[in-house]
Amino acid sequence: MSGLPAAVLGRVAPQLAFGSRRAGRLIERNIYVYRRSWIIIFSGFFEPIFYLLGIGIGLGRLVGDVAGPGGAPISYTLFVAPALLASAAMNGAILEATFNFFFKLRWQKTFDAILSTPMAVADVAIGELGWALIRGGLYAIAFTIVIVPFGLVTTPLALLAIPAALLIGFAFGALAMAATTFMRTWQDFDLIQMIILPLFLFSGTFFPLETYPEPLRILVQLTPLYHGVDLIRSLIVGVLSPVLLVHVAYLTVMGLIGLVVVSRRLDKLLRT
C-alpha cells in the first residue's frame, strides 16, 4: 500500500505547492458568488444540528449509554454528535463537488473560460476542491461550537475534530469530483445519492458497529465514512489509538487518488 500513495503524492504535491496561488483565484471567484447567496451556505449548517436535536437528544433518552471508542460507555448524544459532524463534512464537500461542479463543468463552461488564462487544469481541480473544503470547514467549526453547551466537548483533543472534518471533506470531495467528471446528465447524480444515504445510516453513525453481524461489520469497516466517523468520535471523546492513523491514511489516499483522477479527466474533457 505504500507504493501507491507515494506515487500519487509525487504527482500531486508539486501541483499543490505551485498551483496553490493560482488555485486561490478560483476560490476567490466562488466567494464572490456566495456573497450574494450566503443563505445557501447556512442551510448546510442547520441540518446536522436538527439531527442532533431530533435523534441524538430525543432518541438518547430512550437508548441510554452505549459503548464508545475504547469500550467505555458514553451517552448516546455523545455517540451520535461526532458522527453527525463527520457526515456533515462529507455532505458539504459532496454537494459542492457534484451539483455545483457539474454546472460549472458542463453547463456554464466556466472552466473552458478559465483555461484560456494562465490557469492550468490542476489549478481548477485544486481550487474547486479547496473551496469545497472551506465550506465543509465552516460547518465543522460551527457544529463544534454548537455542541459545547451540550457538555459534549470535554477534551482539547476535540479541537482536532476540525482538521479531521477537513480531511473527510478532502477525501469525499475529491472522489465525488472525480465521479462528477464522468456524469452526463443531472439524473446520473441519483447514483451518488444512493451511495451517500446508506453510508450516512450504516457507518457506525447511529448504532455501534458491534451491533452488526460479522460480515456486515467487515463491509462497513471497508467503507470511507466509517473511518471518518470513528476518527472524529475518538477525537471528541478523547481516546487515542494507533487505529486513528489507519483512518487518516485511508482518507488521505482516497483524496489524493480522487485529485489525480479529476486532473486527468479535466485535461481530457477540456483540453481536446
Binding site: R25, Q108, T117
Partner: protein, 319 residues
C-alpha cells in the same frame, strides 16, 4: 527551448503566429490538415470557411487549449506545448460560444477574469470600468449576465478578453447570430482595436465581415487552406470584377442547358439562380436579353469573397 522557441518576443519581422504542417486529429478524423500560415504583428488576419472547416480547432490550438497533433506551431515565438501559461497570459480569447460566468455580475465577470491572470484586485477593477466604458456596458455593470442581449454578451466577452491588455486577440466568429445593428457596433469596436495596433485573428463564415475586418485571410475548407491573400487580391485572383445574377421563374432554369454558353468567363448554377462571371456585368445582362431569355430578376454586382469561395470549393459559404 532548443530551436526557435527561445527567440526574443516581438523581434523584428518575427511572426506572432507561425504554423507549418499544423495538424489536428480527433481519433482517425482530421479536423485541421497540415496547414501553413503566419500572422504578423499589427495585422488583422482571418480564417474564412463554412461550418466544420476546422476554424475553431485551429483557434483552440493557437490559444493553447488544444494539443497539436502534428506539425510546428509557435505563438508569440513560443511553443504552446511547453509554454501554454506564458502564451495565454498575453492572449485575449473570444470563444465561439459565450462562456460568461452567469453566477457573477457584468463587472465581476471582468474583475474575476483579471484575477485569473494574476492582476492585482485594484488594477482589475480599474480596467473593468474602463473596458465597460469601451464596450458601452457601463450602465449594466451591476446586472446579472443572463438577461443581457446576444450582442451585449458578445461585447462583454470582448471586454473580458481585453482585461490582460493582450498582444494578440483570437476572435472565433465574433458576430455570428447577431442582428445587423449589433454586428455593426461590434465591428466598430474591433476596428478601433485594430487602429490601436492590436493584432487580431478572427474566424468567420460571413464574407462581409472578412472584407470589413481582415487585412489578409485564408480560406479554409474541409480541414485545408485552399487560398490565401488580402480580400481584394483573392477576388482579383479567383473571380472576375463583376457578377451577373439571374433568377428565372420556377422550372425554367432546368431548361436552359447550353443557352447561356459563351456569355461569361465562367457560369455557376445554384439551385435558385445562375451566376455569370465577367468583367462587364451590364454587357452580360444585355447579351442575355438578346438571346431571348427572360429572367425574373437580373442583378449586376461586384465579386465578393463568397464568389471566391464558390470558385474554390464549388459550394456556397452558408448553406
Amino acid at each position: 527551448m532548443s530551436d526557435d522557441t527561445a527567440v526574443a518576443l516581438d523581434g523584428a519581422g518575427l511572426p506572432l503566429i507561425h504554423a507549418r504542417g499544423l495538424t489536428k486529429r480527433f481519433g482517425a478524423f482530421i479536423a485541421v490538415d497540415a496547414v501553413d500560415f503566419d500572422v504578423q504583428k499589427g495585422e488583422s488576419f482571418g480564417f474564412l470557411g463554412p461550418n466544420g472547416a476546422g476554424k475553431t480547432t485551429a483557434m483552440r490550438m493557437i490559444g493553447g487549449v488544444s494539443p497539436v497533433s502534428e506539425g510546428t506551431l509557435r505563438v508569440l515565438g513560443l511553443d504552446p506545448a511547453t509554454h501554454g501559461p506564458q502564451i495565454r497570459a498575453r492572449l485575449g480569447v473570444v470563444p465561439q460560444q459565450d462562456s460568461l460566468d452567469t453566477e457573477l455580475t457584468v463587472r465581476e465577470n471582468l474583475v474575476i477574469y483579471g484575477r485569473y491572470f494574476g492582476l492585482p484586485r485594484d488594477e482589475c477593477k480599474r480596467r473593468a470600468d474602463e473596458l465597460l466604458e469601451f464596450v458601452q456596458l457601463s450602465e449594466r455593470a451591476n446586472d446579472q449576465v443572463d438577461p443581457l442581449s446576444g450582442g451585449m454578451k458578445r461585447r462583454l466577452t470582448i471586454a473580458r478578453s481585453l482585461i490582460n491588455e493582450p498582444d494578440l486577440m483570437l476572435l472565433d466568429e465574433p458576430t455570428t447570430g447577431l442582428d445587423p445593428q449589433a454586428r455593426h457596433l461590434l465591428w466598430d469596436r474591433l476596428y478601433r482595436l485594430k487602429q490601436k495596433g492590436t493584432t487580431l485573428v478572427l474566424t468567420t463564415h460571413y464574407m462581409d465581415e472578412a472584407e470589413q475586418l481582415c487585412d489578409r485571410l485564408v480560406v479554409m475548407d474541409k480541414a485545408k487552406i485552399v487560398a490565401e491573400g488580402s480580400p481584394r487580391a483573392l477576388i482579383a485572383q479567383h473571380s472576375t470584377k463583376e457578377v451577373t445574377e439571374l433568377r428565372f421563374p420556377v422550372g425554367i432554369q432546368e431548361t436552359l442547358d447550353g443557352k447561356l454558353d459563351g456569355l461569361a468567363e465562367r457560369i455557376e448554377w445554384l439551385p435558385d439562380r445562375v451566376l455569370l462571371y465577367a468583367n462587364d456585368g451590364e454587357a452580360v445582362s444585355v447579351a442575355v436579353h438578346e438571346r431571348g431569355l427572360r429572367p425574373e430578376t437580373t442583378m449586376v454586382r461586384r465579386s465578393t469573397l463568397e464568389d471566391v469561395f464558390l470558385r474554390l470549393t464549388g459550394r456556397t459559404l452558408i448553406e
